[in-house]
């Protein structure tokens, strides 16, 4: 039960983080469409790092 609540909290945190990354990346791309490739790569890497964190927490909790 508690670990489900914990998982929910992790997902909320991860979701906020991913939203921030994605949103800012979109803004960046809209501002500088020529840098889209670089921004996407950086976005994916940071997203992956965040994902690793969230999944790590989920696994430890599960």
């Amino acid at each position: 039960m508690y670990n489900l609540i914990g998982a929910g909290l992790i997902v909320i945190g991860g979701g906020i983080g991913l939203g921030q990354i994605g949103g800012k990346a979109m803004e960046g791309i809209a501002r500088q469409p020529e840098a889209a490739g670089k921004i996407q790569t950086a976005m994916i890497i940071i997203g992956a790092l965040l994902e690793g964190l969230a999944f790590g927490a989920l696994i430890l909790g599960a």
Binding site: I59, G61, A62
Partner: protein, 166 residues
């Protein structure tokens, strides 16, 4: 976490490690090395081709510049030759003119000199004639008028006064 650790199979881990090592070695030997080498050499080839094309272009430009220079030089040479020829022509004409002038002048001078000498000789002849004539006249007069001596003298006098030379 416990269920995951429970799921962790050491045997699978070992098998995976062995397979991965063998796969990496095999792939390096049979695939990645030849592929990467081929890609590298192809890219180098393309780079070389691009470079040599660039060089050829530069050379071409140089050649064209050379050609243009040559053409320009040739044109200049022609110009100068033409100019020289024109000058020569002018000079020749000028020379011919001056020579002709000089010749004409000398001829005129000669002619004048000849005329002068002719005139002089004619004058001398004329003088001779005049003298002869006057002698004749004088003779005749003398013959006619020897009778009248005074009158004769008077006549001679007057005649001589009249016949002024020139």
């Amino acid at each position: 976490m416990e269920t995951l650790l429970n799921d962790f199979s050491v045997g699978l881990f070992v098998m995976q490690a062995v397979i991965l090592i063998i796969l990496i070695l095999l792939m390096r030997k049979f695939a990645w090395k030849p592929i990467l080498d081929a890609l590298q050499s192809r890219e180098d080839g393309i780079q070389n081709a691009l470079d040599s094309a660039e060089n050829a272009k530069l050379e071409m430009q140089n050649l064209q510049a050379d050609n243009a220079n040559l053409l320009k030089e040739a044109r200049a040479e022609r110009e100068s030759m033409l100019k020289e020829a024109r000058e020569l022509k002018n000079k020749m004409i000028e020379d011919a003119k001056t020579e002709a002038q000089a010749q004409a002048n000398t001829m005129i001078a000669q002619a004048q000199a000849a005329i002068e000498s002719e005139k002089k000789s004619a004058m001398a002849e004329l003088k001779g004639h005049v003298a002869g004539l006057s002698l004749d006249i004088a003779e005749k007069v003398v013959r006619q008028e020897l009778s009248n001596k005074d009158k004769q003298l008077e006549l001679v006098e007057s005649m001589l006064n009249d016949a002024k030379l020139n």
